[in-house]
């Protein structure tokens, strides 16, 4: 049995992908490394493009929190077409032990 934390990514069409994401890696990188559809990550995790947008499932929102006000992430997200209060850019979420089991949903499109 692996002890590596897991993240579940749910596509817009409800297809779920549970994958292992090593500690310290971003939630975006976890999706890219496992070829999970729905996260584009054009800029490779530089917080320059807002194409790794995810919605945090409600039960995880307290642990994840919201983007720091005035941050690059907050600024980029405020222009995403379908932003919700639980929107985050997954390149800015580093995997931690207490995030094992995290569930995120993807928007219909990233562009």
């Amino acid at each position: 049995m692996s002890n590596m934390p897991k993240v579940t990514y749910i596509e817009y069409n409800d297809t779920a992908h549970e994958v292992e994401v090593p500690l310290g890696l971003s939630v975006m990188r976890g999706a890219i490394d496992n070829n999970v559809p729905g996260i584009d990550a054009d800029c490779g995790g530089e917080c320059a493009c807002a194409t790794c947008h995810v919605y945090i499932e409600p039960e995880w929102q307290d642990k994840i929190g919201v983007p720091e006000p005035g941050s690059q992430e907050a600024s980029m997200l405020s222009f995403a077409a379908v932003t919700q209060p639980n929107s985050r850019l997954s390149c800015q979420l580093q995997m931690r032990e207490d995030l094992d089991g995290l569930v995120v949903r993807m928007p219909e499109g990233q562009h």
Binding site: N35, D42, E46, C49, M76, F79, H111
Partner: protein, 410 residues
Amino acid sequence: MSQSDARIVIVGAGHAGGSAAAFLRQYGWKGPITLVGEEPIAPYQRPPLSKAWLKGEADAASLALRPDSFYPSSDIALRLATSAVGIDREARAVALSSGETLAYDHLILALGSRARKLSLPGLSLAGVLELRTVAEADQLKAALGPGKRLAVIGGGYIGLEAAASARALGAEAVVIERESRVLARVACPELSAFFQDYHRAKGVEIVVGAAIEALEGVDGHVTGVRLSDGRLIGCDAVLVGVGAAANEELARDAGLACNGGIVVDLAARTADPLIHAIGDCTHRPLPLYESMGRLESVPNALEQAKQAAADLCGRAPPTPEVPWFWSDQYDLRLQIAGLPLGAAETVLRGDPAAAQFAIFHLDADERLLAVEAINATPEFMGGRIMIGKRKKIPGKKLRDMSLSMRDLAA
């Protein structure tokens, strides 16, 4: 033949080729996929090479497009350290440098671009470098450090990023540009002036309007750049970054139309229904600008990789994107959306002295064509949205900082 037997060969294992293979599997392609790449390593991201990688802030795993385990687990055959030397369209086969031939049912050309060559005495001296591959980045890195001096020929993005990284590593840097300003081909004069001032304030010497006579060396190693006015710029290494040319020869030799890039449509199709082409090597439609052109960027590589994969898998084509680019230098983040093709008016918003501003480009009908934003994410994001909508907006509104970009873009 069912799709599960149809063989896709992708020639070129850069950002475009590697992404196409991944998207094909995401979209459900069942048949064999073979990815042929010249370099000895699996597809990786090139943008960090002049930045984080050069400064030692990125490792091989973070550079990789996908982990090595992805290829076997996705049943994608990697043929690395191998180049394609010819395409036989009738026989539907690609000849490889190894002497083998690979049969295909569908071929994707992701041939990339290569550094433009100068014609100068001394180019073969040791210490004269280019920057496109991780191997070249490692050579450059080894030449940088305290007490070293790097001469950069060409004031484009690669050259300026490398100069900024050289400074971060404690080396001196001189940028030598033929035109009267840096970024002459890719940015407006106001932005060029801003970057020149910023680099100079960081200790980079910038020489514009410079004609180079030769590279000079001692014992086979470069020691300086001789300008035609007689000046000698001493250095320990030279980075040549004077633009890129499309690798289109393989396609042209196979009879496919090329025009400074392989000509494709919005589904990344060439004139041969069995051959797609994607990324830096293409001459592609620019639908927002009713024009064709070549885009050297990661977003373009990804967009066309999706177009080709969607077309092959019978999916609806992806929505055309607004071209965009980014560059990080020092604490500056430059983000550009759109292309200033046919621009008639330039509008400044924000304060260049505070290193936070944007330059908008409008056509004669006040339609937004492009935005160049420095540390100005709302201007970039809002501008990108407006460009995509072909929105008309008066310059005086864009200039007015009391109006938010969110409201302007709505």
